[in-house]
């Protein structure tokens, strides 16, 4: 099963990025092959609608789960339309989250925020 995590760096020791839509990279991890790949998030520099574009990247990589600290409503709509489950990531590094996910310790993300449209991190 493939999972996606927004991350700050292109390394397995990276921290999870606090933003989904504007994360610099996505880590795509395959729980069977234990392979990780890092994708540039082309949406990070978007003027608007970055959540939608970032979600498209996640969908196009055929993942089954997204691990993220938070997610806006437009991004969530895209992710859910593609039947991808969104889990709330825990504080710590990407590999802590991968392990927690494999052990079934992550819960589904409940709070979907209304987005930060034009308001910069309000």
């Amino acid at each position: 099963m493939k999972i996606a995590i927004p991350v700050d760096d292109k390394s397995i020791e990276t921290s999870v990025c606090i933003s989904f839509g504007r994360t610099p990279y996505f880590l795509i991890y395959d729980t069977e092959t234990k392979e990780s790949i890092f994708l540039d998030n082309s949406a990070s520099a978007s003027q608007g609608g970055s959540g939608i574009k970032a979600a498209q990247t996640v969908v196009d990589n055929h993942v089954e789960a997204l691990l993220t600290p938070r997610c806006g409503e437009n991004a969530a709509e895209v992710i859910k339309a593609a039947d991808i489950r969104i889990y709330k990531s825990i504080t710590g590094f990407a590999n802590d989250n991968i392990n927690a996910f494999i052990e079934g310790k992550l819960s589904l993300l409940k709070e979907i925020h209304a987005g930060f449209h034009h308001h910069g991190g309000k």
């Binding site: 609608g49 498209q56 339309a81």
Partner: protein, 286 residues
């Protein structure tokens, strides 16, 4: 004469200045372009209000015609389109109505549909024509509403028009001041106020508009906004005192110039200064 009243931040007194100027000008037009939160009508309480809905065109997709090429998704700079489970989806509130996706679709799977984004109202208060733009909550841009508000046929040559702009210096403000003959910048006596004043100061210079400043909420202490004007050599049109009576009238949605002779005199004098400035500008740079 079209006078735009603007400021870099909210709450500096744009509405106070534009409403009172329109009121003392008597036979005038007031246009509230702050479509996200219009409030001039609260003061004017206009009568005989006529309403018009404002619509924009957004794409609608015929899934049967779509071949999945994603040209529309790639084209959209606002990321208003996504392609999920073999069909495109449109995020209507993100769409800026540019129409590009419809043009780039090789299969003609996209076409236009109408979407209401707000309304404009026109009423009268004494001899003042009061126009208000109201945008529906959550819409991407109020510019189509402002365009409609500022349509040329709304202006009569000898009737002064006062445009109450949205706060800030973004596209929506540019649209509001585009056709103005003169800009009044309203500023607060704080460092934060100066920072925001500088933003609109740069904007009106970029647009080559003649401008002057109204210093609002003036106290006896040092005024950083006044210092800014002196340093830059900017014309100060008026100083409005930070005064309890004015604040009370304003916060109870009364038009100060209609309630008290003192404020009628103050805003009439500002109006005369502005008229003189505009005449001078049209004489020197027609």
């Amino acid at each position: 004469m079209k006078v735009a009243v603007l400021s870099g931040k909210g709450g500096t007194g744009k509405t106070l200045v534009s409403v009172n100027l329109a009121a003392v000008a008597k036979n005038s037009t007031y246009i509230d372009c702050d479509v996200e939160e219009p409030n001039g009508y609260l003061f004017f309480k206009p009568e005989d209000v006529q309403e018009e809905e404002i619509e924009v065109k957004i794409p609608t997709i015929d899934d049967k015609l779509c071949n999945g090429c994603r040209k529309c998704v790639d084209f959209c700079k606002y990321n208003a389109l996504a392609y999920i489970k073999d069909k495109p989806i449109v995020f209507e509130e993100v769409c800026h109505s540019c129409g590009g996706c419809i043009l780039v679709c090789p299969e003609k799977a996209l076409s236009e549909k109408e979407k209401f984004i707000g309304k404009i109202q026109e009423g009268t208060s004494d001899q003042v024509t009061v126009n208000t733009g109201i945008m529906n909550t959550g819409e991407a841009s109020g510019i189509p509403i402002i365009k409609k508000l500022l349509k040329q046929n709304r202006f009569e040559k000898d009737r002064p028009t006062f445009i109450d702009c949205p706060p800030g210096s973004a596209c929506i403000v540019m649209e509001s001041i585009k056709d103005a003959d003169y800009c009044i910048l309203v500023a607060e006596p704080t460092l934060f106020g100066v920072h925001n004043l500088n933003m609109v100061y740069e904007l009106v210079r970029l647009f080559g508009k003649p401008y002057g400043i109204v210093l609002n909420k003036c106290m006896d202490e040092e005024n950083p906004a006044e210092k800014f004007c002196l340093e830059k050599g900017i014309k100060i049109l008026s100083k409005i005192p930070f005064d309890n009576e004015l604040g009370s009238l304003n916060s109870s949605a009364q038009i100060a110039a209609r309630e008290s002779n003192k404020y009628d005199t103050m805003f009439s004098s500002l109006l005369q200064t502005v008229i003189k400035e505009v005449r001078c500008e049209t004489a020197t740079s027609p």
